[in-house]
């Protein structure tokens, strides 16, 4: 069967290569635009979104892509000079990268798993369950973040005698405590975290050195613990109560299962999301990865460990001497090894942790740089294709996960490629307008439909491009440094919970100013070339359109670089459900609807006879999704009346005393995260979002220009003042001399 399949695939590829050789251009337009029209028609029909019928869409999209690739490879790669060749090759490789990722993306998402939850029944909660260790590695995060996570972990539903929790403190290692530079800080952290652990009733583990960063930290803990299963939680990943009851069951049914990965759900927006939250409810790349791609990886038994929110089997980990640490993405590396040993993984597409995204662009870039460098390390040092034990789909999945990160270099090439032609006349894309209309345009359009077809539930059109665009200029040098020295990258912890005092354009945006200038200049050159060079108008039009796209993308990226003010102590979470409110001052009891919650308080709307006094007390009674009742004491912070409805913000009064209760209420329910996730999928108006970002970008551009001009003005004024003072001194001296 596999042989027949292989032969069929070869035959299909060959047909795609050869079938249109003799067709006149008019027929070719008919074929490729017809295929695009077919693709759009299928895209619109819901029936074809279901597997296996989505294979029809995939085949059609692959046809357009492969034909474009064939045309691009065999028709447009022409040696016209050394520098042309260099530019042309770079652009081709960049495109090739995009095409491979595009095809692999379709392959991976051909049948996203929609797993049924295997929930432990109450009757199963006995001694027959495996013992579980929850490990919370930390390094430099604020104690309060660790406290929330450890507190939440302590409340996880599982037989208490079979569950142990450990804070793995790498910020207070003996080495750091003995180091002159970090001694005070580390001792303080060591004491405070140990004390915190004691207070909460969890274990505290530290080690001698910080060798191998997070991987080393976990491995050290493995030596001091003995739970059959390990739940790894980043210290900012607060677990829900049901995280074990909904994951342990899988291990009971498959002896070869080494991993159950769950999604990383973030309550705070990324910097880009923050810019857009005033306009719409935006899904971000993280959602795309955890909601679509990872489900697709699961279909191919290639779901991999993402560093947190995952349950692992100790036995299998010990077989490979714990978490691997050859690369700085120890999680994926460990998975790769265990998959190659024939062990299985599954992905439960149900959020059961709540985490924090980086708050600033600097932190965001730091995080992405680590991921990018780590995955490129994996690509270079542990390439999936060279590993025995993996099947072909697994190899392709791992290859895709690593190879994807070269996008930063590809994007960079896309940014400069058209300018190379318009500014320096380099022939980087040898194509006539006719051929571009036949092959390239249908392909480009098809990619948009493909992205929306496969990932539309978790992302908006063009947003992946924007995310990639934003990161590209910063990741590219980091990737190149790994390519030069794969062993070099060091693990850098992503800062969480950073505050931003005022709204500003991140200085990193300057890189995009260069892109804006280059593309603007190229377009101006293009206009002149249009009049000057009749024969190359095809190429001029193409590259000018391309530059315009780049320009728009650069502006949008600039817009994404606005850092919004963020000084909240705890993040507010959108929520719903009834709350019974009793106001002692008026003795009024009403039922309101919860709007949002945080560890510090909650807001709700309700109809009151009388406006509650500011700073007045409130008694709140809430029953959560599990039927558990919560009584909170609160103080009104703000009350607004809108159309007979009061919008009230209440601060929890006994927060410090009943911290665990609040953590249990706010973070304990996984169904809350599911609700928020579902709402995110119903986004609106891509154009509205893009326009918003574009305007922000232009605003940033003008502000930066203004800032530069003001600096120039300052320098000029300084110079003038200096000169005028000199003059006045001369005059003064002259006055002195002259009687």
């Amino acid at each position: 069967m596999r042989l027949i399949y292989f032969i069929t695939v070869v035959a299909l590829v060959y047909l795609i290569y050869s079938f249109d050789k003799q067709l006149p251009n008019s027929d070719k337009i008919l074929v490729y635009w017809g295929a695009l029209a077919g693709l759009v028609a299928i895209y619109k029909i819901k029936f074809f979104k279901r597997a296996p019928w989505r294979l029809v869409f995939t085949m059609l999209a692959s046809f357009l892509t492969l034909k474009y690739l064939y045309w691009r490879t065999f028709e447009t790669l022409i040696y016209t000079g050394f520098f042309d060749f260099v530019g042309m090759t770079a652009l081709y490789i960049a495109e090739l990268h995009g095409i491979i990722i595009h095809l692999l993306g379709m392959f991976i998402s051909i049948w996203p798993m929609d797993r049924k939850l295997v929930v432990l029944a109450d009757t199963e909660m006995n001694d027959s369950l495996p013992t579980v260790d929850i490990l919370i590695p930390t390094y430099s995060e604020p104690e309060e973040i660790v406290k929330i996570t450890a507190t939440a972990a302590k409340q996880v539903d599982y037989p208490k005698d079979r569950l142990r929790i450990f804070i793995l403190d790498d910020g207070g290692t003996i080495g750091r405590r003995n180091s002159e530079e970090t001694s005070d800080e580390s001792w303080e952290r060591h004491y405070s975290l140990r004390k915190l652990a004691n207070e909460i009733g969890v274990g505290y583990i530290t080690r001698e050195t910080n060798k191998k960063a997070k991987a080393g930290n976990i491995n050290n803990a493995l030596n001091h613990t003995d739970g059959e299963l390990i739940l790894v939680l980043d210290c900012d990943h607060v677990p829900t109560r049901d995280i074990l009851t909904k994951t342990v069951g899988y291990f009971l049914r498959d002896e070869k299962l080494y991993l159950v990965q769950t999604p990383h759900f973030f309550i705070n927006p990324t910097p880009i999301e923050k810019n857009l939250e005033t306009v719409s409810n935006v899904s971000v790349e993280n959602d795309m990865f955890f909601r679509i791609i990872h489900s697709g990886l699961d279909f191919w038994n290639a779901s991999y460990f993402c560093g947190s929110a995952a349950l692992l089997r100790r036995k299998h980990l010990e077989e490979i001497d714990g978490i691997e640490g050859k690369t700085i993405t120890e999680d994926a590396e460990t998975s790769l090894t265990l998959h190659s040993k024939g062990y299985n993984s599954i992905y439960v597409n149900y959020p059961m942790v709540c985490g924090l995204s980086p708050e600033t662009f600097d932190d965001y870039v730091t995080q992405r740089t680590r991921w990018a460098q780590g995955m490129i390390q994996l690509f270079l040092l542990r390439n999936a294709f060279s590993l025995k034990g993996l099947n072909l789909p697994q190899k392709l999945c791992y290859f895709n996960s690593c190879f994807f990160w070269f996008f930063s270099i590809s994007r960079f090439v896309f940014y400069i490629a058209p300018s190379l032609f318009l500014l320096f006349g380099l022939r980087v894309y040898n194509a006539s307008l006719g051929d571009v209309i036949i092959y390239a345009v249908p392909y480009v359009f098809s990619t948009t439909f493909v992205m929306d077809f496969f990932f539309g539930g978790a992302r908006q059109p063009f947003f992946s491009e924007m995310y990639e665009s934003v990161q590209s200029l910063f990741l590219a040098p980091a990737i190149i440094s790994v390519l030069i020295n794969p062993e070099k990258p060091m693990f850098k912890v992503t800062a969480k919970g950073t505050s931003i005092e005022k709204e500003t354009l991140n200085p990193l945006a300057s890189a995009f100013l260069i892109v804006v200038f280059i593309n603007l200049l190229a377009i101006v050159f293009g206009v002149f070339k249009w009049f000057d060079n009749v024969l190359l108008r095809d190429v001029i039009v193409l590259t000018a359109v391309w530059c315009t796209y780049n320009l728009a993308m650069a502006f949008i990226s600039l817009g994404a670089f606005w850092e919004k003010k963020q000084i909240r102590r705890y993040h507010r979470i959108k929520a719903s459900g009834p709350v019974r409110v009793h106001i002692p001052s008026t003795n009024e009891t009403v039922t309101g609807e919860i709007k949002d919650i945080s560890l510090a308080g909650l807001s709700f709307e309700c109809k009151l006879i009388q406006k509650p006094a500011s700073a007045g007390k409130a008694e709140l009674h809430i029953v959560d999704e599990y039927g558990e009742e919560f009584n909170f004491a609160g103080i009104f912070q703000r009350v607004q009346l809108k159309k007979d409805v009061y919008y009230c913000g209440v601060k929890f009064d006994d927060f410090e005393e009943n911290f665990a209760k609040y953590v249990r209420y706010v973070y304990g329910s996984s169904s809350r995260w599911v609700d928020i996730w579902e709402k995110k999928s119903s986004f609106e108006g891509t154009s509205k979002l893009l326009k918003h970002l574009l305007l922000l970008g232009m605003k940033g551009f003008v502000e930066i220009l203004g800032s530069y001009f003001s600096q120039v003005k300052d320098i000029a004024l300084k110079y003038l003042r200096k000169n005028s003072r000199l003059r006045s001194i001369k005059i003064f001296k002259a006055t002195n001399v002259d009687p």
């Binding site: 069967m1 027949i4 399949y5 069929t8 695939v9 035959a11 299909l12 060959y14 047909l15 050869s18 079938f19 050789k21 003799q22 279901r50 597997a51 296996p52 019928w53 294979l55 029809v56 085949m59 028709e75 447009t76 022409i78 016209t80 051909i110 049948w111 798993m113 929609d114 797993r115 049924k116 295997v118 899988y250 049914r253 498959d254 070869k256 299962l257 699961d298 279909f299 191919w300 038994n301 998959h339 040993k341 024939g342 062990y343 299985n344 599954i346 034990g389 099947n391 789909p393 697994q394 040898n430 194509a431 006539s432 006719g434 051929d435 060079n533 009749v534 024969l535 190359l536 095809d538």
Partner: protein, 796 residues
């Protein structure tokens, strides 16, 4: 009375004697006058000017302009006297004092006319000194200087014009024929000279009956015809075949020693044939030959009027081509066809060995080598200077292989080295036209003039087409001058150097056939190898008219391609399984059945004749009529179709109702009208008019040729297979089906954990059920086994 009678008698006698004497003297004088042999005979030829210019009017504009014509003088002419005659019309607003027309031959003025506004229509009759006209191509130029005022004159004012009316104009040349030189190398240029004004004519003497002549000898005649036609350059040359010499023509006798020795003995020509042998001799004539003209008979008498039995025609030659074997004969023919150097200087040679350089496909006349930079000089463009306000344009013509699949995204790269004089206005420029269409201009915008090397221009290849192409350079130079300032037009120079280069990128060869137009272009596909390697010609009737038809056709394609057909082979029998392209010549009755079956028309007793329903419909929209009929004697047909022997080889059929009509078709292949209009796969040529009426139709199934690589060959097979479309559909369905099976299997494995080992398919749908049925039916057993095996391996 007697005295009177005697006196009368004496008077009568004396008168009679005087009369007799006078009559005798007159008679003697007349006889001497008539019978005196004249070694040289002055002949006159009128050459229409229009034939030389290819246009009826030469329009000369601006203050100074000129037009050059090439006037060929054949090598065998000695010009005795020449003159030129034409009419012209000049603008009625010219200033008589400063306007004149000058005619020059090889830069020497032979006459001038004042361009008189009062008599704007003039006629010029000018003698051309005979010594100015040398054998070769002579330059005949018409130049005008024209002014409408002597103050503030616009150099290209619309008032400044003169038209030379070439229609009705002519060049008259009196010439004598020079005797044929008896040296082998030199005689070929002398005899097969393209600088003649009529078609060339060459006769092959094959002494045996054609039916008894070996295929090798017939092949030799084809090689020779192709070699000779190439010597005639672009001039049509009609080949005829006879068993004896045809007087008044250059004859080539060919055959092995055994075959021609009797013939040569009869002609009293002594030869010593020991191997491949070539000899040139004066053409022997026989007084009894009914074909001899009166003039030729006169030539056969000596100065005393004695008629000789055998004489030699000094103006025509007999070339003897022979050898001991057919192989020798072929070597002799190849040597003669390739003889392009003035050696040997004697009248005969015996060839010991003949080796050809290895040749490559797609080479020939003006075929542009692709993928490498070609200097203009190699493309026939010599360094050229454009002079004046509106100088004549200059072009490079070249040919691309007819089966070129021209790609869209590539560029022809011109790298120009040129220089231009100073003082030009910014609108001056060097315009570049591709196949007559303007594409770009190089601005000559440096007022001080410039010398530029390596000016690169990229021209998209889609502007070119397979076959003939030309790049034209047209300079427009305008001097910079203020109002009423002197316009210095003599300083307007622009030179393009012949070390400029042109690079055409490599392209694949792939073409949809049949296309007779490609055959007319350069003999494609028979000349894919320029020497027609792998091509065969079958004479379905071994007769002289059919052989003549084949020779003329082969000579034509060889001349078009610019390379002798050294590897062509002629045969009288149809080969059983020929792996190559093939041509058939013969009347309908003699065409092999298997060949006719391969054609659409089946021109036998029952013909299948297509009739286009409407000229507005696509080519292949025609009505089909099955009928019993025929061509008639005044028409013939050419059919091209896929050869019945091997895939993707081409068969070309030249046929008619009679052998004479086939012969006419062969000669008609030289006609420009047929070469231009014959296309598609079915051509009918009607001989009723001198121009021949040509009709073309598409009837045959298409096929593809030109594949060189294995992958292309596979593709060819697919294209030509009618089940190709079904195959595509099946493969797609198969791919989809197997993919679904694999995906379903994988899904079952991946979801087993959720139901504690039970197979769960949350999306149990119509597709799912169908797949399950398929699984059960075909791969159930194997699948279980595979699963177990995979579990053992630990895969997932």
């Amino acid at each position: 009375m007697a005295n009177a009678d005697g006196a009368e008698l004496l008077l009568w006698n004396s008168r009679h004697l005087v009369n007799k004497l006078f009559s005798f003297i007159i008679g003697i004088f007349s006889i001497v006058l008539i019978l005196t042999p004249t070694p040289a005979h002055a002949e006159n030829l009128i050459i229409p000017l229009q034939k030389l210019t290819q246009t009826s009017i030469l329009n000369l504009k601006c203050v100074m302009n000129g037009y050059d014509i090439s006037l060929p003088i054949p090598n065998r002419w000695k010009v005795k006297k020449a003159s030129i005659h034409f009419n012209y019309i000049n603008s009625a607003t010219l200033k008589k004092e400063g306007s004149q027309l000058v005619v020059r031959v090889n830069k020497t003025a032979i006459g001038q006319r004042i361009l008189d506004p009062d008599e704007p229509e003039g006629r010029a009759d000018m003698n051309i000194p005979a010594h100015l006209l040398k054998s070769g191509y002579n330059n005949l130029s018409f130049e005008v200087a024209q002014h409408y005022t002597f103050e503030c004159e616009q150099p290209c004012d619309p008032n400044l014009w003169t038209d030379i009316i070439t229609e009705g104009g002519y060049v008259s040349i009196d010439y004598e024929l020079l005797p044929v030189p008896m040296e082998l190398a030199g005689v070929l240029d002398f005899l097969f000279d393209p600088k003649t004004y009529d078609k060339g004519r060459v006769n092959f003497v094959i002494t045996e009956e054609i039916s008894k002549t070996s295929d090798e000898t017939l092949t030799v005649s084809a090689i020779l015809a192709s070699g000779i036609s190439n010597r005639f350059d672009y001039l049509p040359v009609i080949f005829s075949v006879s068993r004896d010499i045809i007087p008044g023509l250059d004859n080539i006798v060919l055959g092995t020693k055994e075959n021609i020795s009797d013939f040569l003995d009869k002609k009293e020509i002594k030869v010593e044939i020991k191997g491949p042998y070539v000899k040139v001799a004066k053409l022997p004539l026989d007084i009894r030959d009914p074909l001899l003209s009166r003039l030729e008979i006169k030539r056969m008498m000596d100065k005393y009027g004695r008629i000789l039995k055998i004489e030699q025609d000094p103006d025509h030659a007999l070339i003897i081509l022979s050898g001991l074997t057919d192989d020798h004969l072929k070597i002799a023919a190849e040597s003669l066809a390739a003889l392009n150097f003035p050696y040997p200087g004697v009248d005969e040679m015996t060839i010991l060995e003949f080796n050809m350089e290895e040749i490559i496909t797609y080479t020939g006349r003006k075929l542009l080598p692709t993928g490498r930079s070609m200097k203009f000089k190699k493309l026939g463009f010599s360094t050229y200077t454009f002079l004046g306000l509106q100088p004549n344009s200059k072009e490079i013509s070249f040919r691309l292989p007819p089966d070129f699949l021209i790609k869209q995204n590539q560029y022809l790269k011109l790298s120009l080295n040129f220089s231009y004089a100073g003082g030009l206005r910014v609108e001056s420029g060097l315009n570049i036209l591709i196949n007559g269409t303007f594409v770009t201009v190089i601005s000559l915008d440096n007022f001080k003039g410039a010398s530029i090397e390596g000016y690169e221009i990229d021209i998209p290849t889609y502007l070119f087409s397979p076959g003939d192409n030309y790049v034209t350079f047209k300079a427009v130079m305008t001097p910079k001058a203020g109002e009423c300032e002197l316009l210095q037009t003599t300083s307007l120079f622009l030179t393009i150097f012949d070390n400029s280069t042109m690079l055409f990128p490599k392209m694949p060869h792939f073409v949809k056939m049949p296309k007779i137009e490609l055959f007319m272009l350069n003999g494609y596909p028979f000349t894919r190898w320029p020497d027609a390697f792998g091509s065969k010609v079958v004479l379905t009737q071994p007769t002289i008219p059919i052989l003549e038809a084949a020779l003329n056709t082969l000579a034509m394609i060889s001349q078009k391609n610019g390379y002798p057909l050294f590897s062509i082979s002629l045969a009288k029998e149809t080969p059983k399984d020929w792996d190559g392209d093939i041509m058939f010549f013969g009347s309908i009755e003699a065409l092999p059945d298997e060949i006719m079956e391969a054609t659409f028309l089946r021109l036998k007793k029952e013909s299948v004749v297509p009739y286009p329903v409407s000229k507005f419909m696509p080519d292949d929209n025609f009505a089909v009529n099955r009928q019993i009929s025929g061509f008639g004697e005044n028409s013939a047909a050419i059919l091209e179709f896929k050869a019945p022997f091997k895939k993707s080889n081409t068969a070309l059929l030249f046929t008619a109702q009679t052998q004479e009509a086939v012969k006419k078709l062969g000669e008609a292949m030289w006609a420009p009208g047929i070469q231009k209009w014959a296309s598609k796969d079915f051509v009918i040529v009607e001989f009723n008019t001198p121009e021949y009426k040509t009709s073309s139709l598409k009837t045959a199934k298409p096929y593809f040729v030109g594949a060189e690589s294995l992958i292309d060959k596979v593709r060819l097979y697919l294209y030509t297979n009618e089940y190709f479309v079904y195959g595509i559909g099946s493969i797609i369905a198969l791919f989809f089906g197997i993919s679904v099976i694999f995906l379903k299997r994988n899904l079952r494995k991946r979801t087993a954990i959720e139901e504690d080992g039970k197979i769960v398919d949350a999306r149990k749908s119509f597709t799912g059920r169908i797949t399950d049925v398929f699984l059960k039916l075909f791969i159930k057993g194997k699948e279980d086994k595979t699963d177990e095996e995979e579990d053992d391996e630990g895969g997932g």
